[in-house]
Amino acid sequence: MGGRVPVSAVRTFVDLLAGRRDPAGLAPRDWDGVIGVARSEAMLATLAHRLSDAPLPPTVAALFADQRAAAKVAQAQALWEAEMARRALAPAGIEFVLLKGAAYAAASLSCAAGRQIGDLDILVLASDIRRAENALLNAGWEWVKSDPYDDLYYRQHMHELPPMIHKARDRMIDVHHTILPRTHRTTPDALALIAEAVELSSGFRIFNPAAMVCHCAAHMLADGDLQGGLRNLWDFHCLVLDFLKDDPDFYLTVVEEAWIHGLADVVKRGFRLSHRLYGTPLKAYSSPMMLAFDRQWSDDFYIRRLLTRDDWGRMTNPVLEQAFYIRSHWMRMPPMMLAKHLWTKWRKR
């Protein structure tokens, strides 16, 4: 046979995002797998933006144009939820910080181009959480479910209120009071994160650059199960590139911030993974602090987990997936609590 070595669709997809692969070199049918994987990762519109100027087969170009237009509408809808949350919380004097997708879109960061935004995530001070809950209930949000066990579980152990949905707009909001579950082994300092948040000209508040990158890494790696990993890692990559423009030593800034929140290892892994997949530039330091990004054997597991999709967009390694799922529960909850939780979940069926 000879000729070219077949490259998996998910690899091709990652290479296209990273700019390592010329889209003109793809065979027409290679796009099947690339589009399938991109959809499975909820990143088709992201790819469409990345390749907006590239020469593409006409039907792919048309599909990508549809995706860009639809993503623009979806982002406006997502940001409107933030605006309605502001209108509900402002009269009660409750300030909040936008998290994740809504924050990236509000600040027009580069990862926002085409990015899908699901629920609205906001962070409020723990001391405001009850009043925030009331203000939202008065403004038309309601609990998604009223299962007392789940409720208690959320309040005691999780880093957010149980999800609420707006009864007219049918959109969910997650109100957080810390960025990782309380039972998680590392406990980031939410008070500091809120105090040092940045206000945009639109009036919305978002994390400062270093905190935003820390949260992105925490969301991706400390939550454990790596769901949506390629998307979250793309966020991480783009955020780093954006912030390096104003701060050439952003590596130091972000790792310093990560130390405060107990997230240094997580952030360093984020750098290594995004370097390996998306080509994020890295820079090691020996002064004013030691900072190295030496490859670690355990990174290979993460890379493999991130790339387990076949040409039909399916997860191809259920064992690896399961291992990450169990790991994610382990990281969130001390063992005894894990046993109790799984028991109650099991008994309910």
């Binding site: 809808q77 409107w80 209108r87 009269p91 007219a168």
Partner: protein, 93 residues
């Protein structure tokens, strides 16, 4: 009950299309479509510009419409303003 003041959407935010007995309003900020009947379009029209409460709105509307009793009109308008605020079409000033 206090007569709250509300602010209309900025110019260009809304696209208003009368469709027979209904009026379809597209909000470019939220990407939402609202279907309303009289007097909602008239209220939005009269509100353009500065913040205004039900009393001020009643005065403005009285110039072009017969509102009946002024107190009744004020109560009804306050209720309509709350509904428009819930839809996001007007905002508490």
């Amino acid at each position: 009950m206090t007569d709250r003041a509300y602010r209309a959407a900025p110019p260009g935010a809304l696209r208003v299309e009368p469709l027979g007995e209904l009026t379809a309003i597209f909000d470019r900020r939220s990407m939402q479509t609202h279907l309303v009947v009289s007097p909602m379009p008239e209220i939005l029209n009269a509100m353009a510009g500065d913040a205004c409460n039900a009393a001020a709105l009643a005065d403005r509307l009285a110039e072009t419409f017969d509102l009946g009793g002024a107190d009744d009109a004020r109560g009804v308008l306050a209720e309509r303003l709350r509904e428009l605020a819930a839809m996001g079409l007007v905002e508490r000033a």
